[in-house]
């Protein structure tokens, strides 16, 4: 069991370090067996792209909701900025640049609001933990906070 986890983590770590699109594609293929193994451990329905939590198939319009993003920026200032930069530089946690391109909206918002459970079972979250070594604090964000933070992340990633 422990061995499985470590394998999964290492694979996850490789995935996290991936750069361009091409590599990501390759890595997702590599990561697949690890996920299967996690599934074999009692999570047959676990969707690693969605994570686990309240958010499922959240529809994200193509254009930015500026007011929502502004709200998100406020929450970021109080609850996130101590650990996350808006560049790709890691502070305590990873920088937010391109975060919306690396992960689905569902996954990001589930991780924000269901942090502990995701850290316990999600391969990508666990891979990040291996790098950062600080469990992301549960900041008790409301669903609305999470959604507006996601909009702020989109703005940061250049969505207009």
């Amino acid at each position: 069991m422990k061995k499985y986890l470590i394998t999964a983590s290492i694979i996850g770590l490789l995935a996290a370090c991936g750069g361009g699109n091409q590599q990501t594609k390759d890595n997702s293929a590599v990561a697949a067996p690890a996920v299967t193994e996690a599934s074999a451990n009692g999570n047959p329905s676990y969707d690693p792209n969605r994570g686990e939590g309240k958010f499922k198939n959240v529809e994200i319009p193509a254009t930015l909701d500026g007011a929502m993003a502004a709200k998100g920026e406020k929450v970021y200032g109080v609850k996130c900025s101590s650990c996350h930069k808006l560049t790709d530089e890691r502070l305590v946690g990873p920088g937010w640049k391109e975060v919306t391109k690396r992960n689905t909206a569902d996954w990001i918002m589930n991780f924000m609001t269901n942090t502990d459970e995701m850290l316990n079972k999600d391969p990508k979250a666990q891979a990040q933990l291996e790098i950062c070594l600080v469990r992301m604090p549960n900041q008790n964000l409301s669903d609305e906070d999470a959604r507006s933070l996601y909009e702020f992340m989109r703005k940061n990633d250049g969505v207009k």
Partner: protein
């Protein structure tokens, strides 16, 4: 194998105990084989009851789980607690303010949980300060002291903080009679009889917010008020106080206050007192007392000195107060769950008198008085008496009730708990305590609805019960299972300070109220930094305000320069976490102060006056993450008059041009 062996041993010792008779000679044969199982709470499981235990001369209140006896928390109340920054942080210092200024210590004797309709409601627990008279209210959402009110015209607040059945009032009776605050106290001590008075305070409690206010004080003859309990049910509207030293001795009370065969239980008709108040019979008397309130939104306490109190003269205003004679310096004054029986425990008596509320009412109506004591009518003993428990033991102190018609009384001199039937006054069981029990507690045992699974004895002497620790030994409580006919000792557990009265309640009444963190959005502290972008350092003359944030695992700012000797530095540390059980700590080298322990979403302030120039590290004292040991920073202090500019930063590394060349 081992288990079988142990069980066999248990059975053997139980059999041995039965054969050797009912008088256990020592601890070994007083415990039966299943005791461990009864007190065992498996790792990770919750206890069934909370037990709020007075910390005596520690000035604090401790919280235990029952039946395990595990210490869950020490709540700082009347004494400073550097561990929690209580009385050291700028926010909590006002909580310990009094008319005598800042008082860092007191002696907390009794705890009382708030009630609604005579049942424990789990909102607050009250505690009394015995030395500099005060009453504290602790919130059971945060398990923190939220309010402290001082009592004027009083000294030694002992018969406190007992409450009425809807927490309308918390009472406080003075142990020492003293000259009132508005007359000159610089008089001969020997003028006690002429100049000393006894005061009883009725503190009103806000129905919703719990805010305390002294509604009125009763002025009474100069005696010692000892303990008290409210009437309930039929006797709701009355309060009963034991009093001793009716001899009015001012020296060698051990002898001089033990002269009279009987002292008194004072019966107070507080509804009558309310009528007099309404009719404007209260006199406004000049005095000074502190009222301190902690605000959960600003995370800051404020202390206000009040200058007036309403006093009702119990001698002039008839029908409020009556004395009932009670043998030999009564101590405990306890009212049974029906409100009919009042148990007075004369600490030098070899019997327990039980008074009847109905008979007392009749005696008052029929004016069955034997005379008066300094203008207060004294009801005839037999006219109010339900009966006496004969030969119950030596030195009865306190009584609690099981709600099944039985009373449990502690006996200090004969060192035992005795169970007796209230109606027929017959002793039904007795169990030895180790040693010299003072108070006792049954969950809900002074309320209308006791939950009588256990009785806990709080002992005054421990002697050989624990491993020796030098001249001072662990204080001790003992847990007895009383679910059967016989009391069964199942556990000893050590306590902090000296345990006096304690109360217990089913965990379900309280545990779901627990606050997990403070919402950062609602933080209204004047020096809060909501987010790292708002962290900064501001100089105002010689005052330097550091608006600091903390999160796993760094402070912002963590490099500060430009502080000078002669400055007063205020570290206002906001904990940005929004999760349960993630406090951060804060300490600075050389501070003649304590640490801060900042709960998630809270702001707390440490004042620091550096006396020498140099480099001063700061760090987080409460282990917070794998990188906790990295949670640190520096403050550079320059000499007075230095022109080092005030700067602050987080994550800023050394500029290249100033780096030493390799």
């Amino acid at each position: 194998m081992k288990k079988l062996h142990l069980a066999g041993l248990g059975l053997l010792s139980a059999a041995f105990f039965m054969q050797t008779g009912c008088k256990p000679k020592n601890a070994n044969n007083a415990v039966t084989a299943d005791a461990a199982a009864k007190a065992y709470v498996a790792p990770g499981k919750y206890d069934e009851f909370y037990n709020f235990v007075s910390g005596g001369f520690s000035g604090q209140m401790s919280v235990y789980g029952l039946p395990s006896g595990r210490l869950l928390r020490v709540i700082p109340v009347f004494s400073v607690d550097p561990e929690k920054g209580w009385g050291y942080s700028e926010e909590t210092k006002p909580m310990l303010n009094t008319s005598h200024g800042f008082v860092p210590w007191d002696d907390l004797h009794h705890t009382e949980l708030s009630q609604t309709n005579g049942e424990i409601d789990g909102r607050w627990v009250f505690g009394n300060a015995n030395n500099t008279p005060r009453v504290a209210r602790i919130d059971l959402g945060t398990f923190r002291t939220n309010e402290i009110i001082e009592l004027p015209n009083s000294a030694g607040n002992h018969s406190s903080p007992f409450i009425t059945e809807n927490t309308e009032y918390v009472v406080a009776g003075t142990r020492f009679s003293v000259p009132p605050d508005n007359v000159n106290g610089d008089i001969p001590i020997s003028s006690y009889k002429q100049n000393f008075k006894g005061y009883i305070s009725f503190i009103s409690v806000g129905k919703e917010d719990g805010k305390m206010d002294i509604a009125f004080q009763l002025q009474l003859p100069g005696v010692n008020f000892d303990l008290s309990h409210a009437g309930k049910g039929k006797s709701h509207g009355w309060f009963f106080f034991s009093c001793y030293n009716t001899e009015q001795a001012n020296t060698l009370l051990e002898v001089n206050a033990s002269q009279r065969d009987k002292d008194f239980i004072l019966a107070v008709n507080w509804k009558k007192a309310e009528e007099y108040l309404k009719a404007g019979k209260g006199k406004k008397v000049a005095t000074k007392y502190a009222h301190n309130v902690y605000d959960e939104k600003t995370h800051t306490a404020k202390s206000e000195i009040k200058t007036e109190v309403l006093v009702l003269d119990a001698k002039e205003l008839k029908d409020i107060c009556y004395f009932i004679p009670c043998p030999k310096s009564p101590h405990g004054c306890d009212v049974d769950p029906t409100g009919e029986y009042i148990v007075g425990s004369g600490k030098l008596a070899a019997l327990i008198p039980v008074f009847s509320f109905d008979k007392l009412q009749k005696a008052i109506a029929n004016k069955q008085f034997e005379g008066d004591y300094e203008g207060i009518p004294v009801v005839k003993y037999d006219a109010a008496l339900h009966g006496e428990v004969q030969k119950p033991g030596l030195g009865p102190l306190h009584t609690e009730f099981d709600g099944k018609g039985n009373a449990y009384t502690t006996f200090f001199v004969s060192s035992e708990v005795v169970k007796w039937n209230i109606k027929d006054l017959k002793v039904v069981d007795r169990a030895p305590t180790f040693y010299s029990v003072g108070h006792l507690c049954i969950p809900g045992g002074d309320s209308k609805k006791p939950n009588a699974k256990y009785v806990i004895a709080y002992n005054k002497i421990t002697k050989d019960r624990y491993l020796p620790t030098g001249p001072e030994l662990a204080q001790s409580a003992q847990l007895y299972d009383i679910s059967g006919d016989k009391m069964q000792l199942i556990l000893d557990f050590p306590t902090i300070g000296e345990p006096h009265y304690a109360q217990a309640v089913a965990a379900d009444v309280i545990k779901n109220r627990s606050v997990k963190f403070f919402k950062i959005e609602e933080n209204a502290h004047p020096y809060v930094a909501k987010g790292e972008a708002n962290s900064k350092v501001v100089r105002e003359g010689n005052k330097v305000h550091v608006y600091m944030t903390s999160v796993r695992s760094h402070f912002s700012p963590d490099n500060i320069e430009g502080v000078r000797v002669g400055d007063e530095v205020y570290f206002h540390v906001t904990n940005l976490e929004q999760d349960w059980d993630v406090p951060h700590g804060f300490a600075v080298k050389g501070a003649s102060n304590a640490e801060l322990l900042i709960m998630p979403g809270e702001t707390q302030t440490l004042k620091w006056v550096p006396e020498k120039s140099g480099m001063y590290p700061i760090y987080c004292t409460d282990f917070c993450s794998a990188l906790h040991q990295e949670m640190q920073g520096y403050v550079r202090v320059s000499p007075a008059g230095s022109n080092v500019p005030l700067t602050f930063s987080t994550g800023k590394t050394q500029p290249k041009e100033s780096a030493p060349k390799k």
